[in-house]
Symmetry: none
Amino acid sequence: MNIHLLLIIMARIVDTEKIERLKIATMKLVVEHGYGGASAVLIAKEAKVASGYFYLHYKGKYEMVNRLLHDVYQEVINKLYELIDQGSGFNEIIDNLIKYFFTLASKEPIKLKFLYVLTNDYSFKIEEDVKAAIYETIKKIKQIGLNSNDLDPRLSIDDMYLMLVINSIQYINQRFKNNQEHINFSNEDQIHLLYLIHKILK
Amino acid sequence: MNIHLLLIIMARIVDTEKIERLKIATMKLVVEHGYGGASAVLIAKEAKVASGYFYLHYKGKYEMVNRLLHDVYQEVINKLYELIDQGSGFNEIIDNLIKYFFTLASKEPIKLKFLYVLTNDYSFKIEEDVKAAIYETIKKIKQIGLNSNDLDPRLSIDDMYLMLVINSIQYINQRFKNNQEHINFSNEDQIHLLYLIHKILK
Amino acid sequence: MNIHLLLIIMARIVDTEKIERLKIATMKLVVEHGYGGASAVLIAKEAKVASGYFYLHYKGKYEMVNRLLHDVYQEVINKLYELIDQGSGFNEIIDNLIKYFFTLASKEPIKLKFLYVLTNDYSFKIEEDVKAAIYETIKKIKQIGLNSNDLDPRLSIDDMYLMLVINSIQYINQRFKNNQEHINFSNEDQIHLLYLIHKILK
Amino acid sequence: MNIHLLLIIMARIVDTEKIERLKIATMKLVVEHGYGGASAVLIAKEAKVASGYFYLHYKGKYEMVNRLLHDVYQEVINKLYELIDQGSGFNEIIDNLIKYFFTLASKEPIKLKFLYVLTNDYSFKIEEDVKAAIYETIKKIKQIGLNSNDLDPRLSIDDMYLMLVINSIQYINQRFKNNQEHINFSNEDQIHLLYLIHKILK
DNA sequence: GATGAATGAGGGTTCATTCAT
DNA sequence: TATGAATGAACCCTCATTCAT
């Protein structure tokens, strides 16, 4: 491999790192100061990137935050698809989903905080296709639950979304808020949330 | 009654109305554009009040929104105290609390939206005394539930807060978001939410 | 007259002065640095006014410059109307118009320079009603000239506009450019321009 | 001829084309958006050239536009020299000059628009040598006119420059502005302008 | 008390220019 | 030589806040 190619590859690594730093800085500042309080200049400074760099990759602040929000949602959706495709039973799917949220809470807490902050924002409506994808997966899970008689048939898809996704995010962020400093989620937290959710679902 | 006294009383009436208009305008604009997007001048204009008037009564925008948030919380706390003081049973308290939220959703939807938008904001931490008051009331309700054997003893106060308050707010705003236009909450919505909550609690 | 009223009147005087300073500063900087080079902050600084003040009275830089341009055009149009309404003969109208331009060149040279700079800008198309007003007045002058046999019938309205307005502006600015410093237009300059114009027109 | 030499020649061909594309793109964008609105990156993009390439050949945007302006002026000067050197009579020189402007208006309208936009810009003063060259040629033409008794002796060199050059540019751009779309100059336009100019000159 | 004109710091964004490749 | 990603100063504009009235 010649040196030219190597340099190009290095350049790409740097580039990817910059974008990544920008994304993390954006999530951090949106969480800390809200969407309005997270200024492009501050985000760039936090990411150790020139302010103009921001605008090479995103049309503007709104687009950046919006895309980021949908990226994080997409990760959740992908996880849901993955769980369904594994052919697991209803309870296993639920367990794994909650487990996933707790892993996220430990490994990338900022993402869960970011979701938490923006899901309640009336200015950031989730795009229709993302919404549709979430509903589709939950519908499938619902069907699996109904078939195996593990799911209360009175629950709507909205209810399941509220319990599985929103409630989990709220539950975890409740703990984030109670513990200012770094938080280590115990296994008990996870078991307790699962207990609550299973209680509702069956 | 002399005319001088009358004018003072009228002035006070006008004044109360102005403050009230300011509060409503603030909630409206914070809900519509987020905290950062709600400018003091626009709020004043919406309230048909001079922008300087805003600063006669509030130190700044943050203080205004913060106080408003706690006012709304206080209303919920007051309702909780009222329900406990009536000496009702556990289930009755829960039913009445949910009923209260649905009444609020019909009569003053802006308050529920305002709560929804700001409860997830990491910049608006609820002050300790408000938090303590909420926990105190929930603790009392918990005790009532435990005494009458109507409450799952495994639920913590945090869990109850999550289910009774946060979850209700989320449930109602989920419907606000689904229905852009004015929404009339049916009795069924309320019954369904109660069904979910009772399921968790017992 | 009470002091309150007096203060209001004084406030208005100050205000008018600020707007006037802003207008003059805008013309000055547009002339010196072009439209693009005349920044709002620089204009405000030159006018000894806060930069935000600019935007209290104008929607933006473009609107400010555009309105200013049309104001100056309007002054010319008003002069043309005035000259026509006086019922003077053709030659007298022409003489007075040129005299007017030279007075402007002495009293408010910045306006003539401003016109000079922007008339050739493809981004500042004169609005249709202003254009129509100019053409209407020139049409009337043309008719007066044809009636009195003082005007070459082969000249179109465009030609007359070119000679009377554009050419005068160019002629005067040619002298501005030749003389960096303050310039005192001699009577001979005016007579000479009139000589050229009359030659074309008859 | 070896292949190495061929590649160098090809490179030069490409290079000349690139520079040419840059020049045309610059004129286009300066005309459309003004000097301030014509960004270097956009110019490069329009010319299908890397933005860095721009700075290999020009010190900056100002230098580029300035040099371009003088290039176009130089073309006019060259034409004037050519006409004088052909030993033609006064009227013939004038006719051919106007004819030249109209050919330019048809073949390379962008150049005439570019001249139009920048001649009235106080930031782009023509350099002394270019100015001197123009004056020298016009002086010669003046002499020819005086000798053949075809020129009004009262006209100064400034007057002749105003009529022959500035006025022609204004006349033609007046038509460009009236006709948004592509414009075909009729022979009559040319004859009419000549009529006006001859009228002034004699 | 009540007003709203005025301020200027700071917002989002662009762009002339550089430089590592 | 030629590229275009990256920079950061400076752009236009907004807005929380003040204060003369």
